[in-house]
């Protein structure tokens, strides 16, 4: 009840702020806000942005750059979290809030001079600074050209003058913080209702990216990308036994407006994880050995991410990531070869509705699309950018160029990669019924994979025993380890389209200096035969 009182006070405080005061600051941060605003129904980028972009392009031409693009970006991020945990002395539940917001605004300029790339960036978005920074990028390109084995080749691209926004009805930044806090408070309290739950955390993160792109190819593109993430965690501790376990609910984080939030369904899931964390605390450890697995979509998404999406990045296959993210087991000679069972078709897709990697255009100015990566188990296509397309004999890029900020260099990042569902009639129960001794794994746990994406080991968030074709009791301390091509060859059943779900992941690191990417992976629950199951600590 204490926590409810706190929220009530904050609501009344909010009401003391006049709407005018609130609007004065939310529409603020002077220049950036105005720059990216333009009539809602306009299909053309803001004229102010176009004028700024043109400065960089003209400057680059002056230095005989054969290519230049200017990206002006404003990132906004609002993070709200609430932790409920017991006071050390009284045991009474304390609610510890964390409310913060950040913005970042600046531009980056990429040029090709003498066949080599140069890039420079700055947080001062003025015409003078854009000219100065473009000249810096040219200097860097010229220096790089001294050690450039072959000139950069960009594949052709259509030119666009367009504006693209994440489809949305309600701007999530316009929703009052109090409403967001109330949602989190009620979810965290729901989790804490069982006194065996030690602590709970509820968090919501709203992110937007305003991005303007202009290139010497003639494109001028303005985009608004919105993303909403949430999570709910429960922890239980058995001090006598020296055990601490958790259970999480991570909704389908999405590229969407606020209208999507009710679908996150915190309330019902809060009740579920409350009961499951307590069950997890006393769940017996798995017995090790070869077992059949059912992997639920909120778990399998990460297995897809690590073992299918990463190894089909062309830059990895060609050695460009050798010093950090690694190379790939899917080498060029694997095109047209079987690397998974006939059940497995994977699509690269930057157009999938609500997926975190969905945009109108990539950071090369390429209109995004869908493409087949693996077709019925046969490897067909790598992910590519304009610079890479010619390396695999393609005439067009698959639109996979992305930078995580105005301050970073665009390079090849994975699109959303999803697994085609199984036959219409296949149910989850059918898949379970075909298992004599197995484990059903739900949610994300520990995950680790080698630099060529062969040997992986994944944990999960919760595990259930499957015996004699039936889902049984909860078990614990499960991880499975496999060799990627063997694992996907062992996929013998995928539930139908009714079970297909898409989940997002946010912290995908690649490149040096490291950049972060957010993407979604969709799939239906799937069955894998005779996988090596380990017992962890």
């Amino acid at each position: 009840m204490l926590n409810f009182r706190l929220i009530s006070i904050s609501m009344s405080m909010l009401m003391r702020l006049t709407r005018r005061q609130f609007m004065a600051t939310t529409s603020a941060l002077a220049f950036a806000g105005e720059l990216f605003s333009s009539p809602k129904d306009s299909r053309a980028p803001s004229p102010d942005l176009e004028r700024l972009g043109a400065v960089g392009l003209a400057e680059a031409r002056k230095y005989h750059a054969t290519y230049c693009d200017v990206r002006i970006v404003r990132l906004r991020n609002q993070q709200i979290a609430l932790r409920l945990s017991p006071d050390r002395d009284t045991g009474k539940t304390l609610a510890v809030p964390n409310v913060s917001e950040s913005t970042s605004f600046g531009f980056g300029v990429r040029v090709i001079v003498n066949g080599a790339w140069g890039f420079a960036s700055s947080p001062l978005v003025t015409k003078e600074e854009i000219a100065r920074v473009t000249a810096e990028a040219v200097i860097i390109a010229k220096a790089n050209a001294s050690i450039q084995p072959s000139p950069v080749q960009l594949c052709p691209v259509k030119t666009y003058r367009d504006r693209w926004d994440t489809p949305h009805e309600k701007d999530p930044f316009a929703v009052e913080v109090a409403e967001k806090l109330e949602l989190l408070q009620s979810a965290a309290e729901e989790v804490k209702k069982n006194n065996k739950v030690f602590g709970s955390v509820a968090a919501l993160n709203v992110r937007s990216e305003d991005k303007y792109f202009a290139s010497t190819e003639g494109s001028s593109i303005q985009q608004l990308i919105l993303q909403i993430y949430g999570n709910l965690d429960a922890t239980a501790v058995d001090r006598k036994a020296g055990i601490s376990r958790s259970r999480s609910y991570v909704p389908t984080n999405a590229s969407a407006g606020w209208e999507y939030v009710p679908q996150m369904n915190f309330g019902e899931n809060a009740q579920r994880i409350r009961e499951e964390v307590v069950e997890h605390l006393s769940a017996p450890p798995v017995t090790a050995g070869k077992k059949d697995l059912i992997l639920m979509p909120n778990h399998l998404m990460l297995t897809i991410h690590e073992s299918v999406a990463h190894p089909t990045e062309l830059d990895r296959a060609l050695g460009y990531e050798a010093n950090y993210a690694g190379t790939s087991y899917i080498t060029m000679d694997k095109v047209g070869k079987r690397i998974a069972s006939r059940n497995c078709t994977f699509i690269g897709d930057r157009t999938s509705p609500k997926a975190l990697g969905t945009v109108g255009y990539d950071d090369d100015g390429v209109k995004t699309s869908q493409f087949t990566i693996i077709e019925e188990g046969i490897f067909r296509n790598y992910q590519t950018t304009r610079e890479q397309a010619h390396m695999v004999g393609d005439k067009e890029s698959h639109g996979c160029s992305q930078a995580d900020s105005w301050a970073t260099v665009p390079f090849q990042r994975m699109p959303n990669v999803w697994l085609r569902p199984g036959p219409q009639e296949t149910t989850l129960e059918d898949l379970i019924a075909g298992i004599d001794d197995g484990v059903l794994i739900d949610g994300r746990g520990s995950y680790s994979i080698d630099q060529q994406r062969y040997n992986f080991q994944f944990g999960g968030d919760a595990f259930w025993e499957i015996k004699g074709g039936k889902k049984g009791k909860m078990i614990s301390s499960v991880a499975y380890q496999a060799r990627t091509p063997d694992f996907w060859q062992a996929c013998d059943g995928i539930a139908g389209p009714a079970y297909w779900q898409q989940y997002g992941t946010t912290g995908d690191a690649k490149g040096e200096p490291t950049q972060i990417n957010s993407i979604s992976h969709g799939c239906s629950p799937s069955r894998f035969r005779q996988v090596n199951v380990l017992v962890t600590d």
Partner: protein, 449 residues
């Protein structure tokens, strides 16, 4: 980049803009220059400036935080208002403590002017050295040379002000066979770019690559291992999260005693295991204040095998009657870059020759927590693993996955080499020695090269 005076003026100006009784401002400005290379050519190079002001205001224990990188007066005023709005809406934080007043911060010793200003002309010769070594041996080099210069200032309405400037650099390279059949790695973080020895790194990585060709399959299992300093640092730094006093008191770390209490004062490790953090060691960079803006100082976490201290934040210290300590934070990759493990005087060769049968490991990759309480981790060896027989390296062997905690690793450590500054592939920094440890679990083989 801001000078001390500029940063101070800006931070203090912003702190005064708030009408709230508490206002804390952090000003950061950083410049990064780097050159990235792969397939024996430069692939990307950039110069970038970032700046940021983070404003945290508090009234009646309600805090709002707003962060902005537009630093004109109008934007800053609006950012302060925005932080105040967030604070007004936020519930009161029952764990909030009053701000610290004026503090004396010691100057950090490692700033090097030449490193702070280095650009492509200072970096490209190093890249050329490496590419030349690779090309001459028909090998392929990839890597990164980078320097970051950072200015940080903090101020609050209670009269606190602090300023720090740092510069840090690193060169790492992976040299591979053209057909992808072998790979060798070498890397060096350095507070002075002039201290980077690219010729030595190129020699180490290329020799490893040539030596690791045709790695043989060995039986997975428990092995005695010789971990090179980078590999040792990869695992040892992950012990940090176990030292949180709060989590330990709450029964959630390896230092929680079954049934209640902590293992502080108990001898869990051999005599020669000493782990501390020293923010003023000139070999590395560190801020002179903690995350709570208290002056930082050196701390011993494990003293000759005995658990010496836990990390207390101000709140938990106030609840338990202890003094706050500099934090050991950033559980995931090891957040405290001033961590150091005491080394011995044995050379790597001497460590190898002390092993009858074991494995020499260059470094690890994709290390993740399996169990946050026991600190069990998994990850893989990378870029050079060799079988040691009768004190000699005999055979290159295939990569392996490990499943082990830094706690057990240190408990099983038998010998130490000298300690150097290392940087893991995923960015964690510390000063770590090469070491020999027994019974290191390597339960599966990886085909990756």
């Amino acid at each position: 980049m801001f000078t001390s005076d500029q940063a101070q003026q800006l931070a203090q100006k912003v702190a005064k803009l708030s009408t709230f009784p508490e206002c804390q401002v952090t000003v950061t400005s950083s410049e990064q220059a780097y050159t990235r290379f792969a397939n024996n050519g430069i692939t990307t190079a950039a110069l970038g400036l970032r700046q940021n002001v983070t404003i945290a205001v508090t009234r009646d224990s309600r805090t709002g935080v707003y962060s902005v990188d537009e630093l004109d007066d109008a934007s800053l005023r609006k950012a302060v208002l925005k932080a105040e709005e967030l604070a007004a809406i936020s519930p009161a934080n029952p764990e909030h403590l009053p701000p610290l007043g004026s503090q004396e911060y010691k100057k950090t010793p490692s700033f090097d002017e030449a490193t702070a200003k280095a650009r492509a002309p200072e970096m490209i010769p190093h890249v050329k050295t490496i590419i030349d070594v690779a090309t001459k041996q028909n090998l392929v080099a990839a890597g990164l040379i980078e320097r970051t210069t950072r200015v940080t200032a903090v101020a609050n309405k209670a009269g606190l002000f602090g300023f720090d400037q740092s510069a840090d650099s690193q060169l790492t390279t992976t040299i591979r066979m053209r057909d992808g059949s072998s790979s060798g790695w070498a890397g060096q973080p350095s507070v002075k770019l002039s201290g980077i020895d690219s010729a030595k790194l190129a020699a180490t990585a290329s020799e490893k690559c040539l030596r690791w060709k045709n790695p043989q399959r060995i039986e997975p299992g428990n092995y005695t291992v010789v971990l090179e300093p980078t590999a040792a640092g990869d695992l040892v730094r992950l012990i940090q999260s176990g030292f949180s006093a709060r989590n330990t008191d709450e029964g959630r770390t390896f230092l929680s005693k079954k049934g209640g209490g902590t293992l502080v004062g108990e001898k869990l490790f051999p005599d020669y295991i000493t782990l501390r953090s020293d923010p003023f060691d000139p070999r590395q960079t560190s801020l002179p204040w903690t995350t709570e803006l208290a002056p930082t100082r050196s701390m011993t976490w494990i003293d000759k095998g005995v658990v010496a201290n836990l990390a207390y934040d101000r709140y938990w210290a106030s609840k338990t009657g202890k003094q706050p300590t500099p934090g050991v934070g950033g559980a995931f990759f090891g957040g405290d870059s001033s961590l150091q493990m005491e080394g011995g005087d044995a050379s790597l060769e001497a460590l190898i020759s002390s092993v009858e049968r074991g494995l020499l490991i260059t470094h690890f990759w994709y290390i993740r927590f399996v169990n946050p309480k026991t600190l069990q981790q998994t990850g893989l060896t990378r870029d050079g693993v060799f079988l040691i027989e009768n004190g000699k390296i005999t055979t290159p062997v295939m990569n392996l996955r490990f499943l082990e905690s830094p706690v057990r690793l240190l408990q099983n450590t038998k010998k130490l080499g000298s300690a150097i500054r290392v940087r893991g592939l995923e960015g964690g920094l510390m000063i770590a020695p090469a070491l020999v440890a027994t019974d290191f679990p390597l339960p599966s083989i990886s085909d990756a090269v």
